[in-house]
C-alpha cells in the first residue's frame, strides 16, 4: 500500500520531468520525428498544449480585428473575386488597402517597418487572405519567397535598404528561379552573372519564366550562375543569389501569362539584359545561392495548410447553404447520404490540415531555429491535395450549378489546381519527405544494417525474434495513452492506431533500407509510399494532439473534433496498413512491376497501345 502510494508520488514528481523532456523533443527537427518513427521509441507527440503556445492566442486576437476592417474577400464587398478572375488583375485600390494594412510586410521584423508576425500569426492571417486565391498568391510571392531571401540571408545593410519599402508595399518583390530549361534542376540554370572589369558590378544576362509578380515587382531575387574559384583553385560555375532592382536597367518583362486559375495574379517572363548589379547586392555568399534558394523554398510552404483551410471553411458554408435549400424528390439535398458524406469529408480534411498547419507553425515558432522543412512539405502536400478533392466534391454537390460561373465553385476549382504544382510539385515534395527522412533513419540504422549484412548471429537472431513476435500479434504501446499519456482517453483508440502504425512503419523502413540501401533513391514508387505513410502519421499526430487539447481546455464543440479526429485516424490507419503491405516485396498488393511494364511499353511507342474494341482480325 505504502509502496504503491510512493510509486504514485514518484510518478507525479517525474511527470514534469517527462513533460520537459517531451517539450525538448518537440523542437520540431525532423531528426526527432524520424528517430521516433523509425526506432519506434521516444516521444515526438506534442504535449496537448504544444499546439498553441503563448504567442498563438495573442496572434489570434491581434489578427482578428485587423481582418474586420480589411478589404478582404468575403468580408468586404469591395473585393470581388469574380471580377478579379474575369479581368485578370487585382484592382489598384484593393492593393492599396492591402498595403495600408501592412499585409505586404507581415513577417518583416518590426524594426524594418513590418508587422513582425510569428509563424503562427502569419498562418492565422493566411486563413483570411486565402479567401481570394489571386491575392493570396500575390502576397505569398511577395513575402513568402520574394523578400524572404533578404530576411533569411540578407546583410544588415541590405535589410535596412530594402525591407522598409518592401514591407510598406511601396516596392513589390518577386522570386526569379525558374527558367525555360530549368525547373527543379538547378544545374541547368542558364542565367549568368559575370564580374565586370572594375569588380564592382555583376553583369546579369538571362531569362526567367513564370515569375509571379514579374510585371509588378521592383525588387527581384535572382539566381544566376557565377564563376567561383574553389578552395583547390579550380574554377567552377556556382549559383549565386542577387537582389536586383528594376532601376538597375535592362530588366524587361513579357506580357502576363493566360492562366487556368489564379488569374488575378501577375505571372510573366522576366528578361535581364546586361543588368548591372552592384557587388553589395549579392545575397548571402557568392556561390552560395543554392542554399539560399533551398532555404527560401523550404520556409515558405507551411502556410498553405491554413490558407487552404480558411478557403475550405468558407466553401463548406456556401455548399451547405445550397444543400439545405435545394429540394429534390420532396427532400432537401442535405438529407441524402451521398451528399452528407461529402460534407464529412470536407470537414475532416479541413480539420486535419488546420491541425497540421498550426502544429508546424508552433514548432517553427519554438525557440532556436528548428528545421521543420519536412513537416512543412507534408502540410503542403496534404493541404493541396485536400483542397483539390474537397473543391471537386463541393462542386459535385452543386451539380450543374457548380459548373457555371454563377457560383464560385468553378473558380475555386481552377484556382486550387495550382496548389498541387507550385512551390515544388507534390511528386517532388514526396521525394523530399521520404528521402530526407530515410537519410536520417539510414544513418541511425547503419550499424545495425552492417551487422545484419555481415551476418552477425546475435543481430540476426534478435531481428528474427522481433519479427516473429510481430507476426504473432504484438500490442504496441508507446505511452501516448494511459495515466501520463498526452492523448485524452476518449481518443485512445486513435492513439493506439497511431502507435501501431508507427511501430510497423519503423520495421518497414528498416527492411527497405536493408533491401535497397542508398539505391532507394531510384525506387520512386517505394518512396512515394513512404511519404504517404509519413504524411498520414503526421496528420494523425496533429489531430490527436489538437483534439486532446480541445477536450482538456473544454473548448466549444470538442465532441465534434473528437469525431473528426477518430474518423481521420481510422481512415489513415487503414490506408497506412495497405500502403505498408504494398511495401512488402512479394505482396499481391504491390503492382509496381506491372505498372512499370505497361508504362514502358506505352512510352516506347509513345501512344496508347490497345487496338480499338471494334477492330477484328477477320
Amino acid at each position: 500500500m505504502a509502496s504503491s502510494a510512493a510509486r504514485g508520488r514518484r510518478a507525479v514528481i517525474e511527470a514534469p520531468g517527462r513533460q520537459q523532456q517531451r517539450q525538448e523533443r518537440l523542437s520540431g527537427q525532423h531528426e526527432r520525428l524520424w528517430a521516433f518513427l523509425v526506432l519506434g521509441g521516444g516521444a515526438l507527440l506534442p504535449r496537448p498544449s504544444g499546439l498553441h503556445r503563448e504567442p498563438a492566442p495573442a496572434a489570434h486576437q491581434s489578427a482578428e480585428p485587423s481582418f474586420r476592417q480589411g478589404p478582404l474577400p468575403g468580408q468586404d464587398p469591395e473585393v470581388d473575386s469574380r471580377k478579379i478572375d474575369q479581368e485578370g488583375r487585382i484592382p489598384d485600390e484593393t492593393l492599396e488597402k492591402l498595403k495600408s494594412l501592412g499585409l505586404f510586410g507581415t513577417q518583416v521584423p518590426e524594426e524594418y517597418g513590418g508587422l513582425g508576425l510569428s509563424n503562427t500569426m502569419y498562418a492565422r492571417l493566411g486563413e483570411v487572405i486565402g479567401l481570394d486565391a489571386s491575392i493570396a498568391v500575390t502576397l505569398a510571392a511577395h513575402q513568402a519567397i520574394g523578400l524572404k531571401g533578404i530576411i533569411l540571408a540578407g546583410s544588415k545593410e541590405q535589410k535596412a535598404r530594402y525591407l522598409p519599402r518592401l514591407a510598406s508595399g511601396e516596392h513589390v518583390a518577386a522570386f526569379c528561379l525558374t527558367e525555360p530549361a530549368s525547373g527543379s534542376d538547378a544545374a541547368s540554370i542558364r542565367t549568368r552573372a559575370t564580374l565586370s572589369a572594375d569588380k564592382r558590378h555583376y553583369i546579369l544576362n538571362g531569362a526567367k519564366v513564370w515569375i509571379t509578380n514579374g510585371g509588378l515587382a521592383n525588387v527581384f531575387t535572382v539566381f544566376a550562375k557565377t564563376e567561383v574559384v574553389d578552395s583547390d583553385g579550380s574554377v567552377k560555375d556556382k549559383i549565386t543569389a542577387f537582389i536586383v532592382e528594376r532601376d538597375f536597367g535592362g530588366v524587361t518583362n513579357g506580357k502576363p501569362e493566360d492562366k487556368m486559375g489564379i488569374r488575378g495574379s501577375n505571372t510573366c517572363e522576366v528578361h535581364f539584359e546586361n543588368t548591372r548589379v552592384p557587388v553589395e547586392n549579392v545575397l548571402g555568399e557568392v556561390g552560395g545561392g543554392f542554399k539560399v534558394a533551398m532555404n527560401i523554398l523550404n520556409s515558405g510552404r507551411f502556410s498553405m495548410g491554413s490558407t487552404v483551410a480558411g478557403m475550405l471553411k468558407k466553401l463548406i458554408e456556401m455548399t451547405a447553404e445550397y444543400a439545405c435549400t435545394r429540394r429534390q424528390f420532396g427532400r432537401s439535398l442535405s438529407e441524402f447520404g451521398l451528399i452528407q458524406e461529402k460534407f464529412a469529408l470536407m470537414a475532416q480534411k479541413a480539420y486535419v490540415m488546420e491541425s497540421m498547419a498550426y502544429l508546424t507553425a508552433a514548432m517553427l515558432d519554438a525557440p532556436g531555429f528548428p528545421d521543420c522543412s519536412i513537416e512543412a512539405a507534408m502540410v503542403k502536400v496534404f493541404s493541396s491535395e485536400g483542397a483539390w478533392t474537397c473543391v471537386s466534391e463541393a462542386l459535385q454537390v452543386l451539380g450543374g450549378a457548380g459548373y457555371v460561373r454563377d457560383y464560385p465553385h468553378e473558380r475555386l476549382l481552377r484556382d486550387s489546381r495550382i496548389l498541387l504544382i507550385f512551390e515544388g510539385t507534390n511528386e517532388i515534395l514526396r521525394m523530399y519527405i521520404a528521402l530526407t527522412g530515410l537519410q536520417h533513419a539510414g544513418r541511425i540504422l547503419t550499424a545495425r544494417v552492417n551487422e545484419l549484412k555481415r551476418g552477425n548471429v546475435t543481430t540476426i537472431m534478435e531481428t528474427v525474434g522481433q519479427r516473429l513476435r510481430d507476426s504473432l500479434g504484438r500490442t504496441v504501446d508507446l505511452g501516448l495513452t494511459g495515466k501520463l499519456g498526452v492523448v485524452h482517453p476518449s481518443l485512445a483508440d486513435g492513439a493506439h492506431k497511431l502507435e501501431e502504425n508507427v511501430y510497423y512503419f519503423g520495421r518497414s523502413v528498416e527492411t527497405l533500407l536493408l533491401r535497397f540501401g542508398k539505391t532507394i533513391v531510384e525506387e520512386q514508387l517505394v518512396l512515394k509510399r513512404v511519404a504517404n505513410v509519413l504524411i498520414n502519421l503526421y496528420g494523425m499526430a496533429a489531430v490527436l494532439s489538437r483534439a486532446s487539447r480541445s477536450i482538456r481546455l473544454g473548448l466549444r464543440d470538442h465532441d465534434h473534433e473528437v469525431l473528426l479526429a477518430s474518423i481521420f485516424c481510422s481512415e489513415a490507419y487503414h490506408q497506412n496498413l495497405f500502403t505498408l503491405s504494398q511495401l512488402d516485396k512479394h505482396s499481391p498488393e504491390n503492382l509496381d512491376e506491372l505498372l512499370k511494364k505497361v508504362s514502358q511499353q506505352i512510352l516506347e511507342k509513345r501512344a496508347y497501345i490497345c487496338t480499338h474494341p471494334l477492330d477484328r482480325t477477320s
Binding site: L177, S184, D185, A186, A187, K238, I239, F290, A293, M294, L297, G424, I428, L429, M431, Y432, L435, T436, L438, Q439, G442, R443, T446, V449, N450, K453, L513, L514, R515, F516, G517, K518, T519, I520, V521, K585, E604, K605, R606, R616, T617, S618
Partner: protein, 470 residues
C-alpha cells in the same frame, strides 16, 4: 438422304439416267433398281413440294467416260493440263492490253453467261486461279468469292452420312480447297459470304468447309503474331526501303534518319553498275551523346555488311561501334552537389542494394576482354556494298584520325552505308552472311538481340575475310 434420292429420282424421270450413267461415285453400295426408285418416288412426292426442274445437274465428273462407282484419287490441283486451255480465250487481253480486276470479273461472268450448264467449271476455276496474279487480283476477297460462285449450288452437298464419310465429288472439293489454299497463301481472310457460298456448294460437312473453319481459326490468331510488322507493299524507292529497315532496327522514336548520299540518277554515265549506291543512316540521341563523349584517341569500328530481310528484299547495313572502356578508365558519373533544389539526389549511406533485390546480370568484365562482350554499338545502318572496294567494307579499325573529321567528329558520323538489293538471295559464303540468312528468313526481321549475336560471330569472321580478298 431424302434430298439425294429425290434428285436421283428426278434425274431419272428427266431421262438422264437412261442416256448416261449417273454419278454414284460417293454412294457406293446403293443398289438402284427402277422399281425401288419408283416406290421411293411415290412415297416422297407427297412430302416434298415439287420443284422446277433445274436443268442438267450432274457434275463435270459425270461427263467423264471413266467415271465409276469407285472414287478416283483426286487429281493434283493446279497441274497445268493441256486440255484446260479450253477456256483460255476468256482471258484474252482486252483491246488496250490492260489486265485489271474489271477484265477478270468480266471473264468470269462471261464463263457463266456462255456456259449456262457450267460445263468444265472446275477447269475454268483452276485456270482463273493461275491467272489471278497476272490481273493483280490475288489479294481480292470479292474475286475469290466470285470464283466460288461459279460452282453450281446444292449439287455437291452430301445427302447422306455415307456421302459425308467418303469424299463426295472429290474433284470439285479439291478445286474448292485449291481456291481457299490460294487465298491462304496470299493472306486473304474468308468472310461470311465465302462461308455461305461454301455451305451452299459443298455443305457443312465437306473438306472445303473444314479448311475454311481452320483458316478462320488460325488466321485470326496469326494475323498479328509478328510484333514488328513489315508493310505488305514495301517502298520501291531504295532510300525509302533503307529508312524503313533502319527504323525497324532502331526502336527509339527520337532517332533521326539521315540520307547521306542519294543514288545517282539512272541516266548518269557513271553508273556502270545497275545497282545504285546510297547511304542512309540512323542515329538516336543517346548514340550521338555517346559519340560526343568518345575519346578520339580510341578507335571506332565500322562493321558489316550485315543483311536484313524485309519480306523478299534484302538490305545491307553497317554498324559503327566502339569498344567499351576498360573498367578502370570508366568515369563514374558524379552527381553534382548542388543539383536538385527540392530533394537530395543521393543518400549518404554506406550500404547499397542487397543481393536479393539486385536483378542485374552478373557480368564478368575481366581483363581478358575480347571484343565480343565488350563492344557497344554506336549506330547502325543499311549499307550498299556494290562498290566492291569500298573502304568501309569489313571490320577495319578506323582511327578517327584516318577519316576526315567531318565524318567522325560532326554530329553526323555516318554509320550506315546503305544499299539495298532486291531479288534473289546473294551468294552466301561467309559465316556472317549465313548467320544473317538463318536469322533473316524472308518476311522476318532481326531483333536487336539477334543482331548482337550476328555481330559477335561476324567480327571474327570478317577479320578472316579481310585476309582473303573475295
Amino acid at each position: 438422304m431424302r434430298q439425294l434420292r429425290l434428285r436421283e429420282i428426278r434425274a431419272f424421270y428427266h431421262g438422264h439416267a437412261a442416256s448416261r450413267p449417273l454419278d454414284w461415285n460417293s454412294t457406293p453400295g446403293l443398289s438402284l433398281s427402277p422399281k425401288g426408285v419408283k416406290i421411293l418416288a411415290a412415297s416422297l412426292r407427297a412430302a416434298v413440294p415439287p420443284q422446277a426442274p433445274r436443268g442438267l445437274r450432274c457434275s463435270a465428273a459425270a461427263h467423264n467416260p471413266d467415271s465409276s462407282l469407285v472414287p478416283r484419287p483426286p487429281e493434283p490441283p493446279r497441274r497445268p493440263v493441256k486440255a484446260l486451255a479450253v477456256h483460255e480465250e476468256l482471258f484474252r487481253p482486252a483491246l488496250d492490253g490492260t489486265r485489271d480486276k474489271a477484265n477478270f470479273v468480266r471473264a468470269v461472268q462471261n464463263f457463266a453467261e456462255y456456259n449456262v450448264h457450267k460445263r468444265g467449271h472446275v477447269d475454268f476455276i483452276y485456270l482463273a486461279l493461275r491467272k489471278m496474279r497476272e490481273y493483280g487480283v490475288e489479294r481480292d476477297l470479292s474475286v475469290y468469292n466470285l470464283l466460288l460462285d461459279v460452282f453450281p449450288k446444292e449439287v455437291f452437298r452430301p445427302r447422306n452420312i455415307f456421302h459425308s464419310i467418303f469424299l463426295h465429288y472429290p474433284r470439285q472439293q479439291e478445286c474448292g480447297i485449291a481456291v481457299l489454299e490460294q487465298m491462304e497463301n496470299h493472306g486473304v481472310m474468308p468472310n461470311n459470304e465465302t462461308e455461305f457460298l461454301l455451305v451452299q456448294i459443298f455443305g457443312r460437312k465437306s473438306y472445303p468447309m473444314l479448311k475454311l473453319v481452320r483458316m478462320k481459326l488460325w488466321f485470326t490468331r496469326f494475323k498479328n503474331i509478328n510484333p514488328f510488322p513489315v508493310p505488305r507493299d514495301l517502298p520501291q524507292d531504295p532510300v525509302d526501303l533503307a529508312s524503313l529497315a533502319l527504323r525497324h532496327m532502331e526502336p527509339d522514336l527520337s532517332a533521326r534518319v539521315t540520307t547521306y548520299q542519294m543514288p545517282l540518277p539512272k541516266d548518269s554515265p557513271d553508273t556502270m553498275d545497275p545497282t545504285e549506291t546510297h547511304i542512309v543512316g540512323i542515329q538516336s540521341p543517346e548514340q550521338q551523346s555517346a559519340l560526343a563523349r568518345h575519346d578520339p584517341a580510341r578507335p571506332i569500328f565500322v562493321e558489316g555488311p550485315f543483311s536484313l530481310w524485309l519480306r523478299d528484299k534484302c538490305v545491307y547495313y553497317h554498324i559503327l561501334r566502339a569498344d567499351l572502356l576498360p573498367p578502370e578508365e570508366r568515369e563514374v558519373e558524379e552527381i553534382p552537389e548542388e543539383w536538385n533544389l527540392y530533394y537530395p539526389m543521393q543518400l549518404d549511406l554506406a550500404y547499397g542494394r542487397s543481393s536479393w533485390d539486385d536483378y542485374k546480370f552478373d557480368i564478368d568484365e575481366g581483363k581478358n576482354r575480347d571484343r565480343s562482350n565488350s563492344e557497344h554499338c554506336m549506330g547502325r545502318g543499311a549499307a550498299s556494298m556494290k562498290a566492291r572496294n569500298s573502304p568501309l567494307r569489313g571490320s577495319r579499325p578506323i582511327s578517327p584520325l584516318s577519316l576526315p573529321p567531318s565524318n567522325i567528329c560532326g554530329t553526323s558520323l555516318c554509320w550506315l552505308l546503305g544499299m539495298t538489293r532486291t531479288g534473289p538471295v546473294p551468294p552466301l559464303r561467309s559465316l556472317v552472311e549465313q548467320t544473317c540468312y538463318i536469322l533473316g528468313v524472308p518476311g522476318r526481321r532481326y531483333t536487336t538481340q539477334s543482331l548482337v549475336g550476328v555481330r559477335r560471330i561476324s567480327s571474327g569472321t570478317l577479320k578472316n575475310q579481310e585476309a582473303s580478298p573475295r
